[in-house]
Symmetry: C2
Subunit: 200 residues, 2 copies
Amino acid sequence: MPQGKVTTVPQDGLTTRQRRRQAVFAVHTGDGKGKSTAAFGMALRAWSAGWPIGVFQFVKSEKWRVGEEAALKALGATEGGAPVAWHKMGEGWSWIQRAGTDRDHAAEAAEGWQQIKRDLAAETYKFYVLDEFTYALKWGWVDVGDVVSTLAERPGTQHVVITGRYAAPALLEAADLVTEMTKVKHPMDAGRKGQQGIEW
Amino acid sequence: MPQGKVTTVPQDGLTTRQRRRQAVFAVHTGDGKGKSTAAFGMALRAWSAGWPIGVFQFVKSEKWRVGEEAALKALGATEGGAPVAWHKMGEGWSWIQRAGTDRDHAAEAAEGWQQIKRDLAAETYKFYVLDEFTYALKWGWVDVGDVVSTLAERPGTQHVVITGRYAAPALLEAADLVTEMTKVKHPMDAGRKGQQGIEW
């Protein structure tokens, strides 16, 4: 990236230093790999910057992201390192203690979003990964207008990355940074299944 | 990703389990963000799988990737964790002890590639990130044919991720997995410079 090259300078009355410290809202979308992986890669920098990290996973996967979770939690547990909190929908969310019987995905997604709103209001974290959150929006479980206005009004310097396919236009419009990951070639095309350590 | 769904089954005489353990060669290219970040995200899974990790950075950046380096080294230093080795061109590579005076980028890139060849032959690591290696190929510092044949013949199960723009067609042809990161929107477009903790 051409660090430091800008094409326009905004007339916002901010210094470069102040602008550097603005909170970023990023969206990783597209049908390729790397959307969540890049978000977790960004979490490495966040951790290194000493920022508390909150991960919210919105789609239950057979494998979840056990590798990333183990690694980020190990970082969170290092002495002096920034804490890492990892929350999963489909396991009842970590802040809710209850038996995991009948699931209502819509209600669980809405609960997850309400917790994120509470955390944003409280500035609980400085770096948020809302993993595969786009699906909760696409399926109407969470209102995109509420997400956009909540993010626009979030206090302090809280960076938010939303990942997943089919990102709503309103989300892309509101985001500071949007990257589309496009699949050019995948081992599955050649009949290879997921690779342990690579895919999960 | 639709885990477990394959469109064809290769007639290679391998079981699914064997195919799952095949080494992956991935390329992250395109002009968007997330190419290297996703590679470092993959390194989290590799670390969690207990694989020794070797990172080779081929383009000197003012900021390098200090956040990722600090975080992955912290993981490498955890008790029982897989080791992480981080090598940088432009600082004379870590295996060469010498004063850093006049630089010859072409010679340094060639040296870096020779070390990678030695490491692949010795199976030093199980997960390699050749960060921004595409430029070394583009600028003719390293021969793409040598890279393709070396990777094709690498022993054991060694996963390799090459990142950078302008990936050579021969590289894409040889790769198992190619993802293109496309910039849809970037804060720089609005005159914002890199954000500490986000960009580096």
